[in-house]
């Protein structure tokens, strides 16, 4: 029933900078399933956003995918029975195929709705831009025996406007007929993020990458955007890769959660298991550092001790061992833990669950 849409296998992304090599991602492997929300959580700088950008083949310079593959299971919308597997890492970052994937098959929304819209164009123009690039209208060009020969054509200007109004309505923007001619500075932050969502969804992508989509918004707007995304997902059967460092949000949104630390995934499980039965000490520490309502006064909020290590000198063995409360000397600083299924469909990489 659950079919993979994106399969990431042993992905490594390195940044060659003057002071050495920063290993931003070292061996991430996970799947994103069709029609399902996958949450990715972790501290700042743990490689969440880079993973997302790697899927779009948009790793910023001087970063490079040095190893691994990202398999994209492509299905033509007209012919959903057949599946092609495309290795995104092999595509030319400026080529036509990846440009078709970007926006057309995988949409993306960003952290900063304030600056994600080009200030000089109206919302309608910006939605239309994406539509003109990606949304193809099937057109019957003729019959051959029984089968109709289908072809795609681009949307026209009038259709684009119509779809734009419809999308703005879908994302719950009041008065879409007027808003389509508004410029970004005439919209509030929440409205702009809705427009971003509308742009990303207007081309009916197979997957939506939401890179901290609500960080810059206040909580009431955040709730609206999250509701909106869930609602649309149900309607459109779209996969969502939800990147955040907000554990509350991910608990609400995701079915599957991947915890990342220093460019590696350390734990993967269903949302329930991560929150009620976390295995990896890092995940446990993260969960403990959430403030709870009703906690006793004057008690300090738990934090993870120590600092994130310098990316140039990663600790030996398990990268988390200098900060780990369950550090086992002689083991954790020597042996690199492997990715193991600890429980049924609950994966972690920690020596606590390995026989060494």
């Amino acid at each position: 029933m659950k079919q993979p849409l994106i399969e990431i296998n042993d992905l490594h992304v390195h940044f060659e900078v003057r002071d050495g090599t920063v290993k931003a991602i070292q061996g991430a492997s996970f799947n994103i399933m069709r029609g399902q929300t996958t949450g990715i959580i972790g501290e700042s700088g743990c490689g969440k956003s880079i993973t997302a950008k790697a899927i779009m083949q948009m790793v910023p310079k001087p970063g490079k995918i040095t190893q691994g593959e990202i398999l994209y299971h492509y299905r033509d919308k007209l012919n959903p029975g057949q599946e092609d597997i495309i290795n995104i890492t092999q595509l030319d970052p400026d080529g036509p195929r990846i440009r078709k994937i970007r926006g057309g098959e995988i949409g993306m929304i960003f952290q900063e709705p304030m600056s994600s819209l080009t200030p000089v164009y109206s919302t309608g123009f910006q939605i239309g831009e994406a539509l003109k690039l990606h949304r193809m209208v099937p057109k019957k060009v003729g019959d051959q025996m029984d089968a109709a020969i289908m072809e795609y054509r681009q949307v026209t200007k009038e259709e684009a406007r119509e779809i734009g109004v419809e999308m703005l309505q879908k994302v719950g923007l009041p008065k879409p007929h007027e808003r389509i001619d508004s410029y970004p500075h005439q919209l509030s932050g929440g409205q702009r993020q809705r427009v971003m969502v509308a742009i990303a969804l207007s081309c009916e992508p197979m997957m939506l990458i939401a890179d901290e989509p609500t960080t810059a918004l206040d909580v009431s707007i955040e709730a609206q955007i999250l509701d909106l995304m869930r609602e649309l997902q149900e309607r459109e059967e779209m996969a969502i890769m939800f990147i955040t460092h907000n554990l509350g949000v991910v608990a609400e949104m995701a079915e599957d959660i991947i915890v990342m630390y220093m460019g590696k995934q350390v734990e993967r499980a269903s949302a329930l298991n991560v929150f009620y039965d976390a295995k990896h000490p890092y995940t446990k520490a993260l969960l403990e550092s959430i403030p709870h309502v009703g906690k006793r006064d004057r008690e300090r909020l738990a934090s993870i001790k120590g600092m994130v290590p310098s990316p140039f000198e990663l600790p030996s063995g398990c990268v988390f061992h200098p900060r780990c409360p369950s550090f086992m000397p002689g083991k954790c600083d020597v042996i690199e833990p492997s990715w193991k299924e600890v429980q049924d469909d609950h994966w972690a990489s920690c020596l606590l669950y390995e026989e060494v």
């Binding site: 400026d94 926006g103 900063e112 600056s115 994600s116 080009t118 990606h134 009041p174 508004s182």
Partner: protein
């Protein structure tokens, strides 16, 4: 603001505006806000308005309709060689005061000290000036044949009447007419040249700023190389390289191209700087993530963001273009007769003889000064106005 649901029902029923303003009207108000703010700020700046009016007058009078506004044609040679300017007087034919302006006739006089013949006003003969008189035939805008001139002497009534408000040159051509015609070439060169500079500067600046790296280094070194070129020797070489047999129009466009070639660098640098800061904005990433090509990002998303800045720089660069043409033509490296531009007119007064005996021919200089000042005032006004949220 829980939900930005702002709809008509929230509007006060007793508000002064109609309760339900039509959608399109309200829309217009919203999207016109920036432009009306710019216009409001521009209007408040008197100098800018003066500059705009000067530039507008120059381009309509000299650029579009010099044939109409000048009393004579460009190369009409009268018998009055080096005639002094004929002053405008308010007298009628009998010599009494009249509101209708008139000019004196010209009379030949032998100057024994300078040993030459000169033309001096003869106060006995008075010719009233008429508006929209029939004169020499020409084609308006090169299409409509007509012979109506804005002002002049009615030659049917007064066949001996002349009107040389700024005097004539050595071969008897009316100087005012020549200045108006000359302005056409000089001012259009400024405009066309600046437009080409703008295109070249925008494209190369955007490419340089957007791609960065090797491309950036190459473009930047190119602008430095071009900028470091000593202009005058380069012009001498290029002027010598233009074959003598070329038609004046081709020479004119060559000169424009050469000026553009020398001057695009500064604009390209400015655009590059702006693009460097704009390309880090999230909307570029957003455009990239929705599959836009590099070209589209550069021309659709980055360059429009630089335009308000670029328009100002471009306006302020036009006088430089006009002055370059003037200087080069004066040196004999730019336009040459039979083309007439302000530089060519100045070249004709570059001898001591002319300055000694026909100093009125220097009247071209204030025209150039006014055009340059007009552009500077307009550009300064635009700079202040296009940043309506800025201080001041």
């Amino acid at each position: 603001m829980i939900k930005p649901r702002f709809d008509e029902s929230n509007v006060q029923p007793d508000a002064p505006e109609p309760v339900e303003p039509s959608g399109s009207k309200k829309e217009e108000q919203l999207s016109q806000a920036y432009l009306s703010l710019v216009w409001w700020k521009f209007k408040k700046n008197r100098l800018a308005i003066v500059g705009a009016v000067i530039i507008f007058l120059f381009y309509t009078v000299c650029g579009l309709f010099p044939e109409f506004f000048s009393p004579y044609l460009l190369n009409y040679q009268s018998d009055y060689l080096e005639a002094r300017p004929q002053p405008i007087v308010f007298k009628n034919r009998e010599g009494n005061f009249s509101l209708r302006p008139a000019v004196y006739g010209l009379e030949q006089e032998l100057d024994l000290v300078a040993r030459k013949r000169t033309w001096v006003p003869d106060e006995e003969r008075i010719y009233p000036i008429s508006l929209f008189v029939r004169g020499q035939p020409y084609k308006l805008l090169g299409i409509i044949p007509t012979d109506i001139h804005f002002f002049g002497i009615n030659t049917e009534k007064y066949p001996t009447g002349t009107i040389f408000l700024f005097g004539t040159d050595r071969v008897g051509r009316d100087l005012l007419s020549r200045i108006l015609y000359g302005g056409r070439l000089s001012l259009l060169l400024g405009l066309i040249g600046q437009a080409l500079t703008l295109v070249l500067g925008l494209v190369l600046g955007a490419i340089s700023g957007y791609y960065g790296g090797t491309t950036d280094i190459l473009v930047q070194r190119l602008t430095e190389f071009v900028g470091a070129f000593p202009d005058i020797p380069l012009f001498m070489a290029l002027a010598a390289a233009i074959p003598i047999g070329w038609s004046p129009i081709i020479v004119y466009f060559m000169l424009t191209m050469i000026l553009v070639f020398i001057r695009w660098g500064g604009l390209a640098r400015q655009v590059r700087g702006l693009v460097l800061s704009l390309r880090e904005r999230e909307y570029v990433l957003a455009a990239l993530s929705s599959g836009a090509s590099d070209r589209r990002i550069m021309f659709r998303h980055l360059i429009p963001g630089t335009l308000s800045h670029v328009i100002v720089i471009a306006t302020l660069m036009i006088p430089g273009m006009i002055l370059s043409e003037t200087a080069l033509s004066w040196l004999g490296l730019g336009l040459r007769p039979p083309l007439t531009s302000w530089g060519v007119l100045l070249q004709e007064v570059s001898s001591v003889r002319v300055i000694r005996f026909a100093p009125w021919q220097l009247i071209t200089v204030p025209f150039i000064i006014f055009a340059v000042l007009g552009f500077n005032m307009l550009g300064d006004g635009l700079r202040d106005a296009l940043d309506p949220y800025g201080g001041r």
